[in-house]
């Protein structure tokens, strides 16, 4: 039973840790499916986290924080779009620039506005996204097996967690069941086909990066207003890049993206859980190794275990009418 409780706690932690990855990876999916590579997920997430932390601290409202995060993140997406769609610039350079801008400006603005060393003020429960108790969560707690699963694993998360997981079927539906999704997939594969079909390649790609901006804004909000109580400098901590890895690992498909993010979340949860605990047969393992484990696994998985990941064929190339 002890093992079972540990497992439920571990999985609970996995769910929480995979949410920012899931938002960011789905964000990347919209952009990259349209042919715009986005290495700036990290920066947009960080800027979103800062904006939500700052806005929630000032206004006292988590929802205003969320709006601010989405606004700033969409703005940065449009900057990336302006550079790479309108001006056909290099998408990697533009993405890296956004990462630098976000990393630097969040600290400077944070210090200038709140004078707490680049962090935003600690938020009270009212200005955060608190836990949502699903109905009967308390009542069924003592039911063996199913009780803890329902009350610990499924219930008690912030609203953003549920939104994140609902985004998975929603994204699948948009991508494969709507006109917008059909065109989005087409423009990432062969923009010339879209152009000759009489559809604007640029407008389509702009809409895709706006979707990306909204989702990275949600990812940032989750970090600052749900997982933590305010913005801390560099709090995205490379999650944007892990999300990118999950996206490639999942071959740009929504449902596999969810499983990839859960896997990375699980590794993260394990490394936190077993820090300092001697493992059976192996004995004590250095903390650093446990912390590095998700990244090591990422490299191994990406290097060999997923087969050939074929990115959208027009990905990374600006569309220029030929002839």
């Amino acid at each position: 039973m002890d093992f079972f409780n540990t497992l439920v706690l571990l999985l609970d932690s996995m769910v929480r840790l995979s949410v920012p990855l899931l938002f960011a990876a789905l964000a990347g999916l919209y952009s990259e499916r349209s042919g715009i590579f986005d290495i700036g997920l990290e920066g947009k997430m960080l800027a979103g986290a800062f904006a939500s932390g700052a806005a929630a601290a000032v206004s006292g409202s988590a929802w205003l924080g969320l709006c601010a995060a989405v606004a700033i993140s969409v703005f940065l997406s449009l900057v990336h779009g302006f550079a790479s769609i309108t001006h056909r610039g290099n998408q990697i350079v533009s993405g890296v620039a956004i990462n630098f801008i976000a990393a630097g400006s969040t600290i400077i603005l944070g210090q200038a506005w709140f004078s707490q060393g680049g962090r935003t003020p600690l938020l009270g429960a009212d200005s955060r996204f608190g836990a949502v108790r699903l109905p009967f969560a308390e009542a069924v707690r003592d039911v063996p097996i199913l009780g803890p699963i329902y009350s610990e694993l499924l219930s008690g998360h912030s609203i953003l967690v549920y939104i994140a997981f609902l985004m998975v079927p929603f994204t699948w539906w948009v991508l494969f069941r709507t006109r917008f999704g059909l065109r989005l997939r087409a423009v990432g594969e062969n923009p010339a086909a879209v152009d000759t079909a009489g559809i604007s390649v640029e407008w389509l790609r702009y809409r895709a990066v706006i979707c990306t901006g909204i989702l990275t804004g949600l990812a940032g909000t989750y970090l600052a207003l749900a997982q933590n109580a305010g913005f801390v400098k560099d709090m995205s901590a490379g999650r944007g890049f892990i999300a990118l890895a999950a996206l490639i690992f999942a071959k740009w498909k929504p449902v596999p993206v969810m499983f990839a993010c859960l896997l990375f979340g699980f590794l993260d949860a394990t490394s936190i859980r077993f820090q300092g605990t001697p493992l059976p047969l192996i004995g004590p393992v250095p903390v650093q190794f446990m912390q590095a484990l998700p990244y090591i696994l990422t490299v191994i998985l990406l290097a060999g275990f997923i087969g050939k990941a074929i990115p959208p064929r027009a990905g990374g190339q600006p569309y220029v009418k030929e002839r």
């Binding site: 069941r177 709507t178 006109r179 594969e189 010339a192 079909a197 009489g198």
Partner: protein, 510 residues
């Protein structure tokens, strides 16, 4: 005659200094198949891109069904009832047929109903025109003939009354092409107007009602197909150009330096581009390969110079066999005495962003006299470049200038000086005077004759028939990947022109 489906009035279009379309006036009657022929670069595709809204004409008017049409984007063209089958298919490779067909014409935001509608519409088109294709097949798994059918279905699904096909048979097997023509005739029966762009005269004769000939951006003639002949069209296509005769003595051919036997080359799509070609080039002669562009000359050149891999055949260079059926090393071929002036100097001959002196050693940069230990000997390289600039009269005479800043003729001289001054045994030259001014043409022709007189074996490929006729000691004509005839330097233009149009050896001799 039926009323005009398409009228083009005074269309002009320039790209920079190049005038791609020059005062085009053309009326295409409704319910006919109209052919537009011309060599590559004659402006056919540009004209059709204007009609489809890819480009806008600098001046001129388009009328569709008698009414002026402002076609600014492909969607305007689609709305006007124009559909286009592009030379390179505009299909999303990993989509199904039905997804490709509805893309851009879905109707409503949700796919379910649009797919259901498209499915019944496709069934109707299949019934009416015999355009069978499995709507759920993934496009990249279909053979090219069927992919083309998807393109046609796309146009018909959008309600096109006018169908433009750009070089539709380039990728098709003869059987597939015949099937396509049957479909086109049937579409005509149903009242569609079809514009067929090609440089293959046989197709024009087989399927069109009327034919227009384009040359160097201008529309030079329109004929009823039943009232013209392949000979007339070939002559109109190639045109009578001013003959630039080069003074030269008679050739004194020596030993065979380059020998090609049964060479077969396929392109990346698996289409045979060079088909069982055999010939010899001797020391002290220029062998010219004539042909309308796109008949395998480029592939032949690229294979012999080691850039492209052959399927089968043997090539012997100065008595020693070279294996071109596996990845060859162009550098090694150079060391064995083969120099190559590629057809496209911008993409293959030069690095335009480099200084002149850097380009002048490209490919030979590892030769000892350019090196000092592991480093380049910059002074030696520049001295060498200055010497060649003098010898080949390259202007401006500045070896530090960026290559992009030289004119076309001078850029070509940079490539020629690099390749010729290496004292090769065999020189293969592609389109030596393409985009080159008249003065430089004369100089380049002179140098090629000099090479011959020095006892080099020269293989010259050019789409300029006059150039071949004035330089070559023997003329080989390529058509559809094969060498269809050999002529002496005194062959008439008509004789060569017929061969270039694929008309049989004996017929042409009559």
């Amino acid at each position: 005659m039926a009323e005009a489906a398409i009228e083009l009035i005074g269309i002009n279009k320039s790209f920079g200094a190049v005038q791609a379309n020059r005062d085009i006036n053309l009326a295409i009657p409704a319910g006919t198949i109209h052919g537009i022929v011309g060599e590559n670069g004659a402006g056919k595709s540009t004209l059709m891109s204007i009609l489809y809204g890819f480009y806008q004409a600098d001046s001129g008017e388009i009328r569709i069904g008698g009414k002026p049409a402002a076609i600014k984007t492909p969607s305007d063209a689609i709305a006007a009832g124009i559909g286009m089958v592009h030379q390179h298919f505009m299909l999303v490779q990993n989509f199904t047929v039905i997804e490709n067909v509805i893309l851009g014409a879905e109707g409503q935001p949700l796919l379910k109903t649009s797919i259901a509608k498209a499915r019944s519409e496709l069934e109707r088109l299949e019934r009416d025109y015999g355009l069978e294709v499995n709507p759920d097949a993934v496009v990249e798994e279909l053979p090219v003939g069927l992919q083309q059918r998807v393109e046609i279905l796309k146009a018909l699904f959008r309600g096109a009354d006018i169908l433009i096909l750009d070089e539709p048979t380039g990728v098709l097997t003869p059987a597939e092409a015949d099937h396509l023509f049957r479909i086109l005739r049937q579409l005509k029966e149903e009242g569609k107007t079809i514009v067929l762009i090609t440089h293959k005269l046989r197709e024009i004769m087989a399927v069109t009602d009327n034919v227009s000939v384009m040359r160097q951006g201008a529309l030079v003639a329109t004929r009823k197909t039943s009232e013209t002949t392949v000979e007339e069209l070939a002559e109109l296509m190639v045109g009578r150009r001013v003959l630039l005769r080069v003074e030269k003595g008679t050739a004194a051919p020596g030993e065979v330096l380059l020998s090609v036997r049964n060479l077969t080359v396929k392109d990346s799509r698996g289409v045979t581009m060079v088909d069982n070609v055999s010939f010899d080039v001797r020391a002290g002669e220029i062998v010219g390969i004539a042909g309308v562009a796109g008949n395998g000359q480029s592939e032949l050149l690229e294979t012999i110079s080691g850039i492209r891999v052959a399927v089968s055949g043997t090539v012997t260079l100065a008595g020693q066999p070279i294996d071109l059926t596996s990845e060859a090393d162009p550098g090694e071929l150079r060391e064995r005495g083969l120099a190559h002036v590629p057809e496209d100097r911008h993409h293959m001959g030069l690095v335009l962003a480099f200084e002149e002196n850097e380009n002048a050693i490209l490919g030979y940069h590892d030769q000892s006299h350019y090196l000092r230990g592991p480093f380049l000997d910059i002074e030696a390289i520049r001295d060498d470049a200055r010497e060649k600039i003098g010898k080949y009269d390259i202007r401006p005479s500045d070896c530090r200038l960026k290559t992009a800043n030289f004119s076309g003729g001078n850029q070509q001289k940079i490539v020629l000086s690099r390749e010729m001054e290496r004292d090769p045994k065999v020189l293969i030259v592609g389109q030596p005077t393409r985009g080159v001014d008249v003065g430089a043409i004369e100089f380049i022709h002179r140098r090629l004759i000099d090479m011959r007189d020095q006892g080099k074996a020269v293989l010259l490929v050019s789409v300029e028939l006059d150039e071949i006729r004035s330089l070559a000691d023997r003329i080989l004509v390529m058509f559809a990947g094969r060498i269809v005839g050999e002529r002496g330097p005194d062959a008439t233009e008509r004789e060569c022109g017929l061969l270039m149009a694929g008309i049989d050896n004996r017929e042409a001799a009559e």
